[in-house]
């Protein structure tokens, strides 16, 4: 079984079902639903431009210098951007699936193999400073490395 399949098995079935009704696409580095994105853009545009234009009207008449009034109106407009972000975050759920995992032992083996590929060995525990040995023992990684080291040495022999 691959990692993909292993993680899929942990996915609650309702999450998979709800995913099927969506039109998912990757935009700017993350996955979105295209229809919801369309709505989010309209909401973002209306709220932020609306706030800005209202602020220009109000501040334009109060501020002593027009440019300063417009700068503050821009600040209000940016506030509008943040508000529209909050609104959209409430309306549209993230299209991500977060799986809480304790590291899979198989991933550990793969990671070890990857490390060996770099230099041909994981190195010798004898080369390590004492603090690093303590740090590795705390993480439960000391034994992983030393046993890998001996196994690897045996294989070589």
């Amino acid at each position: 079984m691959t990692h993909e399949a292993a993680t899929l098995a942990q996915v609650p079935s309702d999450a998979r079902a709800s995913a099927s009704g969506l039109h998912l696409a990757e935009i700017w580095g993350d996955v979105v639903d295209i229809r919801q994105l369309g709505m989010a853009i309209v909401i973002g545009a209306v709220i932020s431009v609306g706030t800005f234009l209202i602020a220009v009207q109000i501040l334009g008449s109060i501020a002593p210098v027009a440019a300063i009034g417009r700068a503050y109106a821009m600040l209000a407009g940016l506030g509008g951007c943040v508000i529209s972000g909050v609104v959209c975050a409430r309306l549209f759920a993230p299209k991500r699936q977060v799986i809480e995992t304790v590291a899979d032992p198989r991933w550990r083996d793969e990671a070890m193999d990857e490390l060996v590929k770099e230099t041909g060995s994981v190195g010798h525990a004898a080369d390590l400073p004492a603090v690093t040995v303590d740090e590795m023992k705390e993480l439960g990684l000391y034994d992983t490395f030393t046993s890998y080291e001996t196994r690897h040495a045996e294989k070589e022999a």
Binding site: I27, A71, M74, A93, V122
Partner: protein, 461 residues
Amino acid sequence: MENLLFDIVVALTMGLVGAVVFAAIGLVSGTDETTTLAPVTLLVVLLGVPPVGVFTFWMAGAISKHMTHAIPTALLGIPGDTMAVPLLQQATVLRNLGAPHIALRKMISGGIIAAFIAVPLSVLFAVMLAPFGQSITAAAPWLFLVASLLIAYFSPGRWSSVAALFPFVLLILALQGFTGKYGVKLSVSYFLGIAIGPLIADLFSILSPMERLRMSRPGLRKFSLAPDVKGWGGYFPNPFRVLDPSQIKWTAAMAAVSSATFVFSPVAMTVILGEVVGSRVKHAYHRLTTVLSVRNGVTESTYIAEALIPLIAFGLPLSPVAAGPAAPLFNAPPRFSVDAAAGKIVNLHTMMTSWEFLAYGLLSVVLAAIVAYPFSMNYARVAAAFVSRKISHEAIIATFVGLVLVIGIWEGQLLGLLVIVTIGLVGGMLYRILGFNTGVQFMGFYMAILSVPAILKMFGL
């Protein structure tokens, strides 16, 4: 005395605001430095905040964002920023070994130590270069031409970026001429268009049936969130105990070396110096953690040097960081301006002394060390879980679309908006297809406003 006290209060307040705001933004993976730091800093400049406040805001914001963008990189396995990409491989191996929190701690502890070293050294190097400032300013149009070509060649697009620079500059000149006919002079719109180009290009692409096929995904995006283990008592961790003595030594040494460089990209420096150190550490686990501390340290110190050296020594944005995320410190009309042709510079360079840069630079690092460093060390997992479960990408895109509209209309009504969209679409496409990245595009903008007038003058046009 009263003035000094006022400056300190302003710097402290603005620095604290920058640190908190950008520590939060850093948690959202994929938010680029240039897209977030540049427009918000620009706003701070235009609102008339005193120079030391602007500077501390920017520095504390940048360093804090670097602390928190390590969280998605280490815990979720997605780069928090383009600058975190070189750290991803080592971070992923540690994640698979079941120790992602170690990756995070080593990274940001290396970063904070490097930041403390980079600020004084960058100021020192800048002061050493400053005597050449006069002649450098005089030669600025040509320097920008050479720097643009160099930065283009070292971008992912190599020669194609060098070649694409010319039509891109021509596009900017043409747009400037067009808006000029209606008496509209734009600059922020160009910056924002370049910075946000990848998003604009993606939004156009999704409308095209051809491209939609390439972008569509079969299911939700999967993340596995790794568990966290706290290894110290109290709230404030000590970076000198998170790293072992040899890691501190390597991080400090490489931070010092990279503080002297300011024309190469932080990513390139990070990779090269990380390799240099990695080849000297024998044990695989020790190599992983050492390379992570050193690499993140180098990213931090190169970044600081690239912003501070050109700012203090010349007042001209002559590096990828200075032309990108730090651009509003140099150029934010009408308040800050760079007119190299006339040799006239009005920006933080002319408003602050070297001592002020040193003092407020260190203050920024202290603020980031107080706000973002312990936050990342203590709440990394909670924060990563909150962002990935509660903040949809739709909401983030809506916020940025709002930003484009407000800034565009604010600067140039409909014309401003059209310029952002045009530059964003062309720039974003060139980035994706050719590797003509935002750093090169910013240099293209400076080439258009600084080098081209000088070249035309030389030919008597």
